[in-house]
């Protein structure tokens, strides 16, 4: 019989995760406070600039999440590093990535309505981001298709890598096509200039760091949930086997 597992008893990792969660929460609270009440309105955008302290971090975290999911998928596909934990990590990271992509689209839309006059335009950046959202929703659906563990994990890993092709397309779409969406303004790769300064720059930076911590916290909890669900399946099987064993002895 399996001994009580690491996931069942509280351990140092759980404490670390709790500290991470509190740090992320404080960081997000500070970002919100600085973004809404401390930083000045923008010369051109006015108060709408305050949405930009949270919108780009959402997009960044989504990219990061998909990057982690792709790396984990690659590690699963490579026979030398193949392990269940990489499949779980890919699934957990991609799910969190989908949440952040959805928030990127919604917060961008809320910003676009007063700025552009419309909730949505079929702009290259917006369209490729929407495609990214749908691709990873498809990936999550693919993970739920029943099958033997290894077969399911391998096809999911391939799916994650295919979906990731869209990430650089999203990022470079503002450079490649005439886009309504503004080009990168924090660190513009073409002009090599920074267009954000002072308290605005620090608030934005804090937003990036805080939401990255939120991502790590969410992805870790999602990973632990997947671990427990796998364990639950195994335990369920063991219970059934033990019952059969007891019946056999009694019979």
């Amino acid at each position: 019989m399996r001994a009580p597992t690491r996931a069942v008893r509280p351990d140092r990792a759980a404490v670390t995760l709790r500290v991470l969660g509190v740090t992320a929460l404080v960081g997000v609270a500070a970002t919100v406070w600085l973004g809404l009440f401390v930083t000045p309105p923008d010369e051109f955008m006015g108060n709408l600039v305050r949405l930009l302290y949270v919108h780009p971090p959402m997009a960044w975290v989504a990219f990061l999440a998909y990057g982690v999911a792709s790396l984990a998928s690659l590690l699963y596909l490579w026979p030398r590093t193949r392990a269940e934990r990489f499949d779980r990590l890919a699934g957990a990271s991609a799910e969190v990535g989908v949440v952040f992509t959805g928030l990127t689209l919604v917060s961008g839309s809320i910003w676009g309505r007063p700025t552009w006059g419309v909730w949505w335009v079929w702009d290259p950046l917006l369209t490729t981001t929407a495609l990214l959202f749908v691709l990873y929703l498809g990936y999550l659906a693919l993970r739920r298709v029943p099958g033997e563990f290894d077969v399911r994990a391998r096809r999911s890993a391939i799916g994650a890598l295919i979906a990731f092709i869209d990430v650089p397309i999203v990022y470079l779409s503002v450079e490649w096509w005439r886009s309504l969406h503004q080009a990168p303004t924090v660190l513009n790769p073409t002009t090599h200039k920074t267009y954000v300064h002072g308290s605005m720059a620090w608030t934005l930076l804090l937003g990036f760091v805080s939401f990255t911590l939120v991502y790590i916290w969410l992805a870790t909890h999602r990973y632990r949930l997947a671990e427990l669900q796998d364990l639950e399946d195994t335990e369920g099987l063991e219970v059934a086997l033990a019952e059969r064993r007891a019946e056999a002895v009694a019979g």
């Binding site: 019989m1 399996r2 009580p4 597992t5 996931a7 069942v8 997000v28 919100v32 973004g35 809404l36 006015g46 108060n47 709408l48 305050r50 949405l51 949270v54 919108h55 959402m58 949440v99 959805g102 928030l103 919604v106 917060s107 809320i110 910003w111 309505r113 007063p114 939120v214 916290w217 969410l218 909890h221 999602r222 632990r224 949930l225 427990l228 669900q229 364990l231 639950e232 335990e235 369920g236 063991e238 219970v239 086997l241 033990a242 019952e243 059969r244 064993r245 007891a246 019946e247 056999a248 002895v249 009694a250 019979g251």
Partner: protein
């Protein structure tokens, strides 16, 4: 300030908060279920200490249990 700004922050913080709390609740529920299953499996296993063959044998097949015939008989075996 601006209705759009507040709406954006509410949507982001609300969604992330709800998602995070849901994950915590699901994790806690799964941990409870796994713990219960562990105890259940231990209790069931405590009823006897049979060989692996017993697990594979149909409940009514006492002879197979006694002699471990199921474990020894591989696919295609005529025994």
């Amino acid at each position: 300030m601006n209705g759009y700004v507040e709406a954006g922050y509410v949507v982001i913080l609300g969604t992330l908060g709800t998602y995070g709390l849901t994950l915590l609740a699901r994790e806690r529920a799964a941990r409870r279920r796994v713990g219960a299953a562990s105890i259940e499996a231990s209790t069931a296993a405590g009823a006897g200490a049979p060989a692996k063959a017993d697990i594979l044998a149909p409940p009514g097949d006492a002879s197979a249990v006694k002699h471990g015939a199921v474990e020894q008989a591989g696919p295609g075996s005529t025994s």
